[in-house]
Symmetry: C2
DNA sequence: GTTAGCCATGAGAAATGTTCATGTAATTGA
DNA sequence: TCAATTACATGAACATTTCTCATGGCTAAC
């Protein structure tokens, strides 16, 4: 007789994912479900409540008043649940540990620092260290017990190492704002032939642009190296050459019109980031939650990233 | 790789029911599940978390530290969910209405008043009226549109009326604290024969003790009537006779030793309370939530009541 | 006027939750 | 101390829910 109101946390997570992702399809990717499942589930929830939650007309999808009220509940309840689960994890595994982190990619510091700050708030007992300098073989550091966690774009299987996917991101070609190539919607390998390629000081086989796009096409432009992201941007802006950087790293400069950016190839050049840890550490609560925190933080903050298949 | 942590509101409701009911079996009754389902589900939750939540050794069941942390989450999250659902109901049906309530049972005012206060807090737009005086046929008031909601112990099917079960409660026999019958663990019909029976001023066929216990046994003690619960208690305490009242109504007097109480029959004399509304009103949000509120409030406050089969 | 991209839908498959029928341990009462 | 009672656990069968697959319709963009 009374309303069953069969609402579950699943529904709140769904609604949150839908609004954050801006659509059912994108939400489905984030939740590692099919679009169909998300559509079915949302409809079931709306039917159970007897109220529509999202405006299907608008794009990006908008919420109804009822949807906004439920989203408010999600925003207040889900963090409480996360906090409780963290406390339970601490109860189970202890709340102290050490996490020496090696990072393969130069631009990763941009988002890693804030994520580490967020993590420190909830795991004050964990000693965080960031290993400096470029590492030729960061996975080796894991096995040598010199690092405990590595962020890498190449999850090559190795004994005793397990990987967790973080996210996929797009490498954008950078060019001066008024460059002739800005007329194109996206760039081809040949477009790079006549320009200097400005990169971080790493071996050529670590550059996705060279390895996956230019080399296969037989294009081999001259290279110039720079240590810092801003230095690369400055060189591009002053017409010394082209560069390719992750979308999130250049977003603020694009907004200000300092440089222009174009996709590389029709579907863009997409790369991935993964976390590697020793197999024995993967289940430890403070390690698992670091990975969770980084991932959540990234999706909340970084523009133009997308979920990867696989666990998590 | 990371912990799935498949926790749902269902689990929180379960844990709350288990602690409030003080055991798995009692919790199962409240949730309208079998004891087996509760046991399975609790075990699944503990396995998922990798932590025990309840101490199975102790009786009544105790919580582990992990269980207490999760219960704290339940206490904080579940009311938020309820509040959100109420807001959605208001969005759907409107937040105003009128609720004229007729009550069949004298002692019901004890718990109905606080429940109404709680309800008023969340539905300030609903006009609450309590119809005074004894009603011979309260269901008739519903059909005549003179009342909107009736609390009754007799859910006799009638066209256009739907019932929702509230709870079952035990009628206890009251006797002076030092009376000879206090030596018995429970009373038989014959025990009433030599005493005056003190009751509210209602027809004999409305007294469960007479109709279901004494009359079938051929026992017909003299009666004396009193208007107020305290008056009945005073008469019993001063040895003018015996009485039978709901357990919850006399609990405070029992604690103080003002009167003694014994079950009536080996398994006690159990009665039920139901809510009746017109069929068309049952789905209205402010009506359904009144019933929910009353039920929740009752289980939180009243000692010695038990859930009934049926919806809700 | 195609071509994509996005959401909806129905049917079947998979996963999850519930009950039933017992078993076992702890507690109560002669 | 030995039934009798009460409460929780467990495995298998059953029921329900949730997910995926395979489509179809709709809209916006070349």
């Amino acid at each position: 007789m009374a309303n069953p109101a069969h609402i579950e946390l699943r529904h709140l997570r769904l609604l949150q994912a839908v609004t954050e992702a801006g659509g059912l399809t994108a939400a489905a990717e984030r939740l590692h479900l099919t679009q169909s499942a998300v559509s079915h589930q949302l409809k079931a929830l709306e039917d159970a409540l007897g109220l529509p939650l999202v405006e299907r007309a608008a794009r990006p999808l908008g919420l109804t008043a009822a949807g906004r009220r439920l989203l408010a509940l999600a925003h207040s309840a889900l963090p409480q649940v996360d906090a409780a689960l963290r406390d339970l994890a601490k109860l189970k595994d202890g709340d102290a540990g050490e996490l020496r982190i090696a990072v393969e990619c130069h631009t990763c510091y941009d988002w890693l620092m804030p994520a580490m700050d967020a993590y420190r708030d909830v795991w004050p007992g964990v000693e965080l260290d960031l290993l400096g300098g470029f590492q030729a073989d960061p996975i080796g550091l894991l096995l040598d017990q010199q690092a405990d966690l590595v962020i890498t774009s190449d999850p090559a299987p190795r004994a005793g190492i397990v990987y967790a996917p973080l996210f996929g991101f797009e490498m954008l070609a950078l060019l001066p704002p008024d460059h002739a190539l800005t007329a194109k919607k996206w760039l081809q390998p040949a477009d790079f032939a006549a320009h200097t390629l400005i990169t971080y000081p790493v071996p050529e086989d670590r550059l996705d642009l060279v390895r996956r796009v230019l080399a296969p096409a037989g294009v081999k432009p001259p290279r110039r190296e720079a240590q810092l992201t801003v230095a690369i941007l400055q060189l591009v802006a002053s017409r010394r050459g082209l560069a390719a950087l992750p979308a999130w790293a250049v977003a603020p400069y694009l907004e200000r019109g300092y440089v222009a950016a174009r996709p590389i190839g029709k579907h863009g050049l997409w790369a991935e980031l993964h976390v590697a840890v020793r197999a024995g550490d993967a289940a430890r609560a403070f390690v698992a939650d670091f990975i969770d925190t980084v991932k959540r933080d990234s999706f909340a903050r970084l523009p133009g990233i997308r979920p990867l298949a696989g666990s998590g």
